[in-house]
């Protein structure tokens, strides 16, 4: 009987520990600071796309003026 109670307590403990465990996140990547590399690359790509859009916009503005 005592053995069974002990087992139950043990199982309950394990479940409690498992419930408390945090889902795995990319904490290592953040600790290394490598995440900034990803952000930099993406920011560069977006900056490039936006520059391209601005150039397009100005070209079309010029076309609109010529047409008038």
């Amino acid at each position: 009987m005592a053995k069974r109670t002990l087992t139950t307590i043990f199982l309950l403990l394990i479940t409690a520990i498992a419930a408390n465990a945090q889902p795995e996140m990319a904490d290592k990547l953040r600790a290394d600071g490598k995440i900034y590399v990803v952000v930099m690359v993406l920011a560069t790509i977006f900056a490039g796309i936006f520059t391209y859009l601005v150039i397009l916009d100005r070209k079309i503005s010029k076309l609109e003026k010529e047409g008038k």
Binding site: Q22, P23, E24, M25, A26, I35, V38, V39, L42, A43, F46, A47, F50, L53, V54, L56, D57, R58, I60, S61, L63, E64, G67, K68
Partner: protein, 230 residues
């Protein structure tokens, strides 16, 4: 130089989302893990698509009322840009689903609705390219666009909510708004929606302006004078 403020706002918002989207804290959830950050990129694609399709719907009705071919040009280009965001939303959704739901395509009502509405809008382009006469193309296209919009809304926003779906906010599934989307995520998610919408509108207006220039030049050469120029 047209009004630039909203374009600059769009640029700032999108750049902010790229930086803050990766650096801001997110809730730690099972299965989703870090992919929850996809929310800042995948969901705004659909929001932008709906806004662009709404603009196309508006200009289609306007064309039917006025018969002005320039409104038809606006409707077409808004739809085309919307289709681009539709495809982006679908592909990003498949990529996300592959790593969280286990397959790129799962029999989910929201996915079915999205696929159907995407095909309906593809058919719009095919229908238009099949017609030779410009007036007929514009008129049939406008009527079809109204029909497509009237189908897209229930397929994407209403029907998936009436049955069980894997998507948050549908069926018995809790929405992000309930507890997943905490105040940290809102700080990035709302700017993301605004930024992507402005970006979509910018791309669409660029295409519209280009097509309007072409339209004016064609009419000029055909009649020798510029009767469209106000």
């Amino acid at each position: 130089m047209r009004s630039w403020w909203w374009k600059i706002l769009g640029i700032i918002m999108c750049l902010y989302v790229v930086v803050a989207g990766f650096l801001m804290p997110v809730p730690r959830l099972d299965i989703l893990n870090e992919t929850i950050r996809n929310l800042y990129f995948h969901v705004p694609m659909w929001f932008t698509m709906i806004v662009l399709y709404t603009a196309a719907f508006y200009y289609s009705i306007k064309y039917l009322r006025t018969g002005d071919l320039r409104d038809d040009i606006r409707a077409v280009q808004f739809t085309n840009t919307g289709i681009m965001f539709n495809i982006l939303g679908y592909v990003t959704g498949m990529e996300w689903a592959k790593f969280t739901w286990g397959a790129a395509w799962v029999p989910d009502p929201k996915l079915l609705g999205a696929a159907m509405s995407m095909l309906i809008y593809f058919a719009y382009s095919i229908l238009r390219s099949g017609l030779k006469d410009d007036e007929k193309k514009a008129k049939i296209g406008a009527v079809y666009n109204v029909f497509a919009y009237a189908l897209m809304i229930p397929l994407l926003l209403i029907l998936p909510r009436m049955v069980d779906s894997l998507h948050p906010g549908n069926g018995g599934n809790p929405a992000f708004a309930k507890y997943d989307l905490d105040s940290d995520m809102r700080m990035v998610f709302y700017p993301a929606v605004i930024g992507w919408n402005l970006l979509g509108a910018w791309i669409a207006t660029l295409k519209i302006r280009l097509e309007l220039v072409r339209y004016r030049q064609e009419n000029k050469s055909a009649f020798g004078f510029d009767f469209e120029n106000k």
